[in-house]
C-alpha cells in the first residue's frame, strides 16, 4: 500500500531544496553550475527514497474548458490505474495514474471523443484499463448472465405457478395440532429428553408464539 511512501524528508523537502542560495551569493557562471549541481544533488539525496518507490506525480492541470474537464473527470472514473489494486485513475495517487490523467486531458483537448480516448487507452494498456469490460463473445456470460438468470427464474416460476393451479387449503385440524405439539413439546423424532424436567419448557405455548397464518390453538391439555 505504500503509495505515498517517502522518507521524513518528504515533510520538509521544500525547505532544503529551496532555490534561494542565501545572502552574499555571487552570481557568476561557475557558481551557477555549482549551485545547480548542489541543488540537483540535494534533491536527489533527499528525494531518492521517495522517487525510488513512487515517482512524484506532476500536479494535475485541469483543462481550461469546463465541459472538457468534466468529460475528463468522468473518464478518470472508468479507467483503471494499471499498477494499482482496483483503483480508478481518478482515485489513484500513483505516478502512472497521473500520467494517464494527463494523457486523457491531452487527447480531449485535441478533440478526441470519449470513445476515441478509451480506444487509445485500450490500445496502449489493453482491455484491463477499462472498468467497464468490453461486450464480446468471452464476456457474454458476464454481461447477460444476471438478466438471463432473472428471465429463466421468472420463466420457471411462471411454469410452476401454472402447473400448480391447485386450490390452497389451510392446515387440517390434525396438522395444526401436530404443529402446535412440535412447537410446544420438543417431541420431534425420537427424543428421550422429552420426559426430562425440561420438557414443556421449550418453544412456544402461548398464542402469540404460534405462527401467523395458523389459527391459534389452545395449548394441548389433558382431557
Amino acid at each position: 500500500m505504500g503509495r505515498y511512501a517517502g522518507p521524513i524528508a518528504l515533510l520538509n523537502r521544500h525547505d532544503r531544496s529551496s532555490k534561494d542560495p542565501g545572502p552574499g551569493f555571487r552570481r557568476d557562471e561557475r557558481t551557477w553550475v555549482g549551485f545547480f549541481l548542489t541543488v540537483l544533488l540535494s534533491i536527489l539525496i533527499l528525494a531518492t527514497p521517495t522517487f525510488a518507490q513512487e515517482p512524484a506525480a506532476l500536479p494535475d492541470q485541469p483543462l481550461a474548458d469546463a465541459s472538457q474537464e468534466a468529460r475528463a473527470q468522468a473518464l478518470f472514473e472508468v479507467l483503471r490505474c494499471v499498477v494499482c489494486q482496483h483503483e480508478s485513475i481518478a482515485d489513484s495517487p500513483a505516478g502512472i495514474a497521473g500520467d494517464m490523467r494527463r494523457l486523457v486531458r491531452e487527447e480531449i483537448a485535441n478533440g478526441s471523443t470519449d470513445d476515441q480516448v478509451k480506444a487509445d487507452m485500450v490500445r496502449r494498456y489493453g482491455d484491463f484499463v477499462l472498468f467497464e469490460p468490453p461486450v464480446r463473445f468471452g464476456t457474454w456470460l458476464l454481461w447477460f448472465g444476471p438478466f438471463a438468470l432473472v428471465a429463466l427464474g421468472g420463466l420457471a416460476l411462471l411454469v410452476v405457478s401454472r402447473r400448480k393451479r391447485v386450490e390452497t387449503r389451510d392446515l387440517s385440524p390434525e396438522e395444526e395440532a401436530q404443529l402446535n405439539e412440535v412447537l410446544q413439546s420438543d417431541r420431534f423424532g425420537p427424543n428421550p429428553v422429552a420426559s426430562s424436567p425440561h420438557a414443556g419448557r421449550s418453544l412456544g405455548s402461548t398464542d402469540d408464539t404460534v405462527p401467523v397464518g395458523v389459527t391459534p390453538q389452545p395449548p394441548i391439555s389433558k382431557p
Binding site: 505515498y4 482496483h86 427464474g153 405439539e181 421449550s202 418453544l203 405462527p211 401467523v212 397464518g213
Partner: protein
C-alpha cells in the same frame, strides 16, 4: 509461558471441537442424550478454550512480546494500546483465531439452545463442531498465531498505518459475527436435510429455529459492512464509499444471500412452503462467507483490503470450501426432493412477493459473484485480462435492484396464500402520489437538474413511504378512532416494526446514495496559508499548517475553516498527513465537517511550491450532499433486524419460560 498456554488452548479447542462432533454423532446414532449432552458440553468447553487462546494472543500484543512472530510483524511498542490490542485481529493469523472463536462461541450458544428436537440439535451441533474443527486445524497447521521467533527482535514491524484507526477495534469483530453467524444456519440446514420429514409440521418449526440466527448474522453483517464502508470513506481520502472492490464484494455476497434467506425463511415459517429453497440459501450464505475468506486470504485477488497473500493457505481454504460446501450441496441434491414442504400459494400473494424478492436478490448475488470471479476465470481460461468495476455494476446490479425496489412496498400489503393486487395498489396510492411530489420537489430543489437523480430520489421516497403506508394500513390510521389506533400501534409485534424500519432504512440509504452520487462536487488546488477554495456549497480556507508529533508518527496538520458559500456558521476541520517512520508509509487523515445531512470532506495533500507562494498544500474538497444517509440507512436496517430479533415470537427461550406455568395450569 502464557503464549504456550494460548497455543495449548488452541489445540485443546480443536480437540474439543472434534470431540463435539464425534460425541454428537454417536449420541444421535444410539439415541443417547448422555452422549449428545457430552457433545454439547464439548462445544461449550471448545468455545472456552478458544476464548482463552484469543485472550493469550491479545496479551502477547498488549505486552509487545516480539518473540511471537505474529506480534513482531504486526505490532510496535510505540503504538497506542488500543491498536496494540486491535492488532491481535489485524493480521491473517489473528483474525483467523477471531473467526474460530466466533464459530465455537456460536456453537456453544447452539448447544445451549432450548426447544430444538433431539435429533436435529445433535446433527446441528455435530456439523458446527466439524466446521470449527476444520477452521481450527487450518489455523493450527498453516497459520499458527503463536509461532515463536528466535532470536526475538527488539522491535516489531508495526501494523499497516491505514489500519491504525479506532474502526479496527470494532469493524472486524462485527463483520465476523455476521460471516460466521451464518455457519449456524449452515449447520441447521445440514441437520434439517438429515433429520427433516416431508410433512407440513417440520418446516414451519425449522423456519422458526433458523430465523433468529439468520436475523442476528444479517444485522451484524449489515453493521460490519457499513462500518467498513465508512472507514474506507474517511480513511482512504478518495471521497468514495463503495468501490466494488473484490473484497467489498466478498462481504456483500453473503449479505445478499442472507437477506434472501431472511425473507424466504419467513415463508417457510409461516406457510411451510419454499423449504428446499430456504435450506439452499442457508447453505449458500455461509458458502459465500467461506468464499470471501478464500478470496481475501489467498492472494488470487488484488485489492486494497487483501491480506496475508499466500497461495498455500489459499489452497487449504479452497479445500475446506470445497469439502464443506460440496458435501452440503450434495446432501441437498439428494435429500431436498424427498423433503417437499406443504403450503401452496397463488402467484399474487405474500409468498409470491417474497419469491420475487428472492429471485432478484439471488440474481444480484450472482451478479456480484460473476463480477468478482469473471476476470480470474477469463484470465485462467484465455489469458485475456479484463477489469470489472463500478460501471459494470451500475449497468447490471443497479437495474435489477431498482426493479426489486419498485415491487417491494407491495409485498407486505398482500395477504398470505392469495393476495389482492388491486387492493394493495389502492392502499399504496397515497404513497405513490407523495412519491411523485417528492420527485418533483427534488427536481426543483437540486441544481443542476438531473432526470435520473429525480427518478432515483423517487425510488428512495417510494421505499420509505411504502413502508409507512404498510404501518398506516395495519393500525387503520384515519379509519378508526384515535384510542383504537393507539391500541393497534401498541399491539403491533416488534417483528412488524423491524420490517418497517428495515425497508424504510433501505429507502434512506437509496436517497443518500442517489443524491451523493448525482450532486457531489469536488475541487482541488494548491493553497497557501490564508487562501481559499470552493466546492459545491462550501468555501474552505487553509488557516494554518503545523508539524505535530503523534505517538508513532509525525504529521503535517492543517487547520481549515469551512464556510457555507451563502453565508452561515464557519467551522474548523483538521486534516493531517501522517508519516509513519517504522514502515515508511504516509496516510491521510480526512477532515470531515458534518453539516446536517451533508459532509464537507477535506483532504490536505503534499506540500509544494506554486508560482505565487513558496509554501502551498494541495487541498482537495468534496461536497458530499446527503452522504450521512448512506451510512444512516443501513444502521436503521440493522436496528430493524435487532428489533425483529427481540420479537417474542422468536425469543425461543424466554417465551418458553413465561409460557411454562400456563401449560402446567391448563
Amino acid at each position: 509461558m502464557i503464549i504456550e498456554f494460548g497455543a495449548f488452548a488452541l489445540v485443546l479447542a480443536f480437540a474439543l471441537a472434534l470431540l463435539q462432533t464425534g460425541l454428537s454423532i454417536a449420541g444421535r446414532l444410539r439415541s443417547s442424550p448422555v452422549l449428545t449432552g457430552a457433545g454439547q458440553g464439548a462445544a461449550l468447553a471448545s468455545a472456552l478454550a478458544n476464548a482463552l487462546a484469543f485472550g493469550a494472543l491479545i496479551f502477547a500484543f498488549a505486552v509487545s512480546d516480539f518473540s511471537v512472530a505474529n506480534v513482531a510483524s504486526n505490532s510496535h511498542t510505540d503504538k497506542p494500546m488500543l491498536y496494540k490490542v486491535a492488532a491481535a485481529w489485524g493480521s491473517h493469523e489473528g483474525s483467523l483465531v477471531l473467526w474460530c472463536m466466533v464459530m465455537t462461541l456460536f456453537g456453544a450458544i447452539l448447544a445451549r439452545a432450548r426447544g430444538l428436537p433431539f435429533g436435529l440439535k445433535a446433527c446441528a451441533v455435530a456439523t458446527q463442531g466439524g466446521l470449527s474443527a476444520l477452521f481450527l486445524a487450518f489455523a493450527l497447521f498453516t497459520s499458527n498465531p503463536f509461532a515463536r521467533l528466535d532470536p526475538a527482535p527488539f522491535q516489531g514491524q508495526s501494523l499497516n498505518p491505514l489500519l491504525q484507526d479506532p474502526a479496527l477495534a470494532i469493524h472486524p469483530p462485527l463483520l465476523y459475527l455476521g460471516y460466521v453467524g451464518f455457519s449456524v444456519t449452515f449447520s441447521l440446514a445440514v441437520a434439517a436435510l438429515i433429520e427433516g420429514r416431508p410433512n407440513s409440521t417440520f418446516w414451519p418449526a425449522w423456519g422458526r429455529w433458523v430465523r433468529p440466527w439468520a436475523l442476528a448474522s444479517w444485522a451484524f453483517l449489515t453493521v460490519g459492512i457499513t462500518l467498513g464502508s465508512f472507514w474506507a470513506y474517511y480513511e482512504l481520502g478518495w471521497g468514495g464509499w463503495w468501490f466494488w472492490d473484490p473484497v467489498e464484494n466478498a462481504s456483500f455476497m453473503p449479505w445478499l444471500a442472507g437477506t434472501a434467506l431472511l425473507h424466504s425463511a419467513v415463508v417457510t415459517e409461516r406457510r411451510g412452503a419454499l423449504s428446499g429453497w430456504t435450506v439452499f440459501l442457508a447453505l449458500l450464505a455461509f458458502t459465500f462467507s467461506m468464499l470471501g475468506a478464500f478470496l481475501v486470504r489467498s492472494g488470487v485477488l488484488t485489492s486494497v483490503h487483501a491480506f496475508a497473500v499466500d497461495p498455500e493457505r489459499g489452497l487449504m481454504l479452497l479445500a475446506i470450501l470445497g469439502v464443506t460446501a460440496g458435501a452440503a450441496f450434495a446432501l441437498f441434491a439428494w435429500r431436498a426432493p424427498q423433503l417437499k414442504g406443504g403450503g401452496l400459494f397463488a402467484p399474487v400473494s405474500r409468498e409470491g412477493a417474497l419469491v420475487l424478492n428472492n429471485l432478484f436478490l439471488t440474481a444480484a448475488a450472482a451478479t456480484v459473484l460473476l463480477g468478482t470471479l469473471y476476470p480470474l476465470i477469463l484470465e485462467a481460461a484465455t489469458s485475456q485480462t479484463i477489469s470489472v468495476g463500478p460501471p459494470y455494476f451500475a449497468l447490471t446490479f443497479t437495474p435489477l435492484m431498482i426493479v426489486a425496489f419498485l415491487i417491494l412496498p407491495a409485498g407486505p400489503l398482500l395477504a398470505w396464500k392469495r393476495g389482492d393486487l388491486t387492493g394493495a395498489m389502492q392502499r399504496l396510492a397515497v404513497a405513490a402520489g407523495l412519491t411523485l411530489v417528492a420527485a418533483l420537489a427534488s427536481w426543483f430543489a437540486f441544481e443542476p437538474k438531473k432526470a435520473m437523480a429525480a427518478a432515483g430520489i423517487a425510488v428512495g421516497a417510494w421505499l420509505i413511504l411504502g413502508a409507512l403506508a404498510e404501518v398506516v394500513e395495519r393500525v387503520r390510521l384515519f379509519r378508526v378512532s384515535f384510542p383504537e389506533v393507539m391500541r393497534r400501534i401498541r399491539a403491533l409485534p416488534l417483528g412488524a416494526w423491524g420490517m418497517t424500519l428495515a425497508h424504510a432504512g433501505l429507502g434512506v440509504f437509496v436517497l443518500g446514495a442517489v443524491v451523493e452520487v448525482s450532486f457531489k462536487a469536488e475541487n482541488a488546488a494548491p493553497l497557501a496559508i490564508g487562501q481559499e477554495i470552493s466546492a459545491g456549497n462550501w468555501t474552505v480556507r487553509l488557516d494554518d499548517v503545523q508539524i505535530v508529533e503523534g505517538p508513532n508518527y509525525l504529521a503535517e496538520q492543517g487547520r481549515l475553516t469551512v464556510t457555507p458559500r451563502d453565508g452561515g456558521l464557519s467551522r474548523e476541520v483538521v486534516s493531517e498527513r501522517r508519516f509513519f517512520p517504522t514502515g515508511g508509509q504516509t496516510t491521510t487523515e480526512v477532515g470531515l465537517d458534518f453539516r446536517g445531512l451533508d459532509d464537507v470532506y477535506v483532504v490536505m495533500g503534499e506540500r509544494r511550491s506554486t508560482p505565487e507562494a513558496a509554501q502551498a498544500w494541495t487541498v482537495r474538497v468534496y461536497d458530499n450532499p446527503w452522504a450521512r444517509l448512506i451510512f444512516l440507512g443501513p444502521a436503521i436496517m440493522a436496528l430493524g433486524g435487532v428489533l425483529s430479533l427481540f420479537d417474542r415470537r422468536l425469543r425461543v427461550g424466554v417465551a418458553a419460560r413465561r409460557a411454562a406455568p400456563v401449560v402446567e395450569g391448563a
